[in-house]
């Protein structure tokens, strides 16, 4: 076991290497174990216990929290929570879809710029990517204010009473979500579009392929790596988003994120909050699994 070996120019033993390696891994891994893995396990444990009358934790094991999430309550079955979960998945799906549809023209546009201004346009997409989400969300308050054309148009069409803003409602949530996540799709997609082999596109056109066919068979397969990363980067965090629905959806359009926040805030029902979080985690893992093979092909960071 203690055989000497040469490890990149160093004469050492496997044991020595392992010792030094552990020294390097130690601090970081210990941190991740204590503040990431352990809290994750605690979250699972707490999702299986009971909430006391004053919001304290009582270590009586039960699956009541999960049953509640599935809709079973003292007063029979209700679909309330199920609806919120499905709505979150649906909103995340639509947000991803709209972002993808808008990202393709944007990426093609940026790629076609001359190299100097290409960086300018790319930076224009990167800035919102890094701008604080609270600011980017509440900024829609201004655009949707009653004094401005959008709300006036909606009033004219009879959607909202005169003098009221165009939020909170589902439309505002979609606006906020798409503007929040659009750069998450555009940036990885752009990385793929930049490397696109245009000769294949030209060949398809020369052979009289229709526009749809050119896209489906010449462009889509080539941009799939970037597109997959963009979809994951959007769909997964969009399911757990809580700022946008909280500010732009109000109580009318709650998502899972709001439900979780409510349990840890006003309701002070940690076990139920933990159960919803685990539910969201399961949804996340399912969606990651669906895309796992594809996303391995590209490093995003």
């Amino acid at each position: 076991m203690n055989k000497l070996l040469v490890w990149y120019g160093e004469l050492t033993t496997r044991q020595n290497l392992a010792k030094r390696g552990l020294l390097f891994l130690g601090a970081g891994m210990l941190w991740l174990m204590v503040f990431l893995v352990l809290p994750g396990l605690v979250l699972i444990a707490v999702s299986l216990i009971t909430r006391g009358a004053y919001g304290q934790l009582e270590w009586i094991f039960t699956i009541e929290n999960y049953k509640r999430l599935a809709g079973f309550s003292l007063f029979g079955w209700t679909a309330d929570y199920i609806i919120i979960v499905f709505r979150s998945v649906w909103v995340a799906f639509m947000t991803t879809l709209i972002s993808v549809v808008l990202s393709y023209p944007l990426s093609f546009f940026i790629v076609a710029r001359p190299p100097r201004s290409r960086y300018f346009w790319l930076t224009l997409v990167i800035i919102p990517f890094w701008t604080n989400m609270v600011i980017r969300t509440y900024a829609w308050f201004l655009i949707l204010a009653p004094e401005l054309p959008l709300a006036k148009l909606a009033t004219f069409l009879g959607f909202i009473p005169a003098g009221s803003p165009l939020y909170p409602n589902s439309f505002a949530v979609y606006l906020g979500m798409v503007s929040m996540f659009l750069p998450f799709v555009t940036l990885p997609l752009y990385a793929s579009v930049e490397r696109l082999d245009w000769t294949l596109v030209e060949a398809a056109q020369d052979l009289y392929a229709s526009r749809v066919r050119v896209f489906m068979q010449a462009i889509l397969p080539q941009t799939l790596p970037g597109l997959s990363v963009g979809i994951i980067l959007t769909f997964v965090p969009a399911m757990g988003m809580f700022v946008v629905p909280d500010l732009l959806g109000g109580s009318k359009y709650m998502l899972v994120g709001n439900l979780i926040q409510q349990q840890f805030g006003a309701s002070r029902d940690w076990p139920f909050g933990a159960a919803i979080s685990i539910g969201l985690m399961v949804l996340t893992m399912i969606s990651l699994q669906l895309y796992r093979r594809r996303s391995k092909e590209i490093e995003f960071i």
Partner: protein, 262 residues
Amino acid sequence: MKKPSPLITVVALATVGFLYLPLVAVAVFSVNATRYGLVWRGFTLDWYIKLFQNEFILEAAWNTLVLAVVSTIVATILGTVLAVGMDRFPWSRKANTFLDLVLHIPVVIPDIILAAALVVAFGLLRFASSVFEPGLLNMIIGHITFQISFVALVVRSRLVSIGRDVEEAARDLFAGTPYLLWRVTLPLLLPGIVAGAMLAFTLSLDDFVISFFTAGPESVTLPLFIFAAVRRGVTPQIHALSTLVVLITVILIIGMERFTRK
């Protein structure tokens, strides 16, 4: 390269407009002289001046800075050492898969799950020590937890790209381990470490969810302050504050771009 059709150009420009319309609106109304409503009453910088007289905002700005600086320093050190530990030693396939999995958790899960897990864990740790009362220290711990992953991933990709030839050459020339790390690996790795630290710093400034869940009444940061203020009703002062935050973000991004492109 193909020239895009006019339709693509129009949709692309409209999309960029869609991204910037809200931010431009905030900037415009931050210099509007009216206090209520959205009617244009002339240009003023009053809201910016008042910002610097508001002690709550100054305190929030200070908290934000302390949080970002402290967590970035700790996460950069831990993340860098962790990346070297993962990349430069002969771990078994199984060990590598496990390390990789743990490292990717904060990157892929929705941040609200990490926030919920931290709330629960801190809640239980509170029985052991009052250190874990909600507050700045807890926020720093939370931020470090997700920053480590990003730093380690960035530094590790730099480790892979610089290869091991130079290190091997140094070993052949009888460099000891401390000398090798300090005089060979670290200088080569520095661009990666700086890029990782900048990413971590921006992530900390950008974070809302982790802070929101772990903050105490004494540890309000700028995003938390803006969120609370917005729920009470937006004011021009908030627009001014937000505009400043966006400007700082822009400066950081341009700095980061300059640095990483060279």
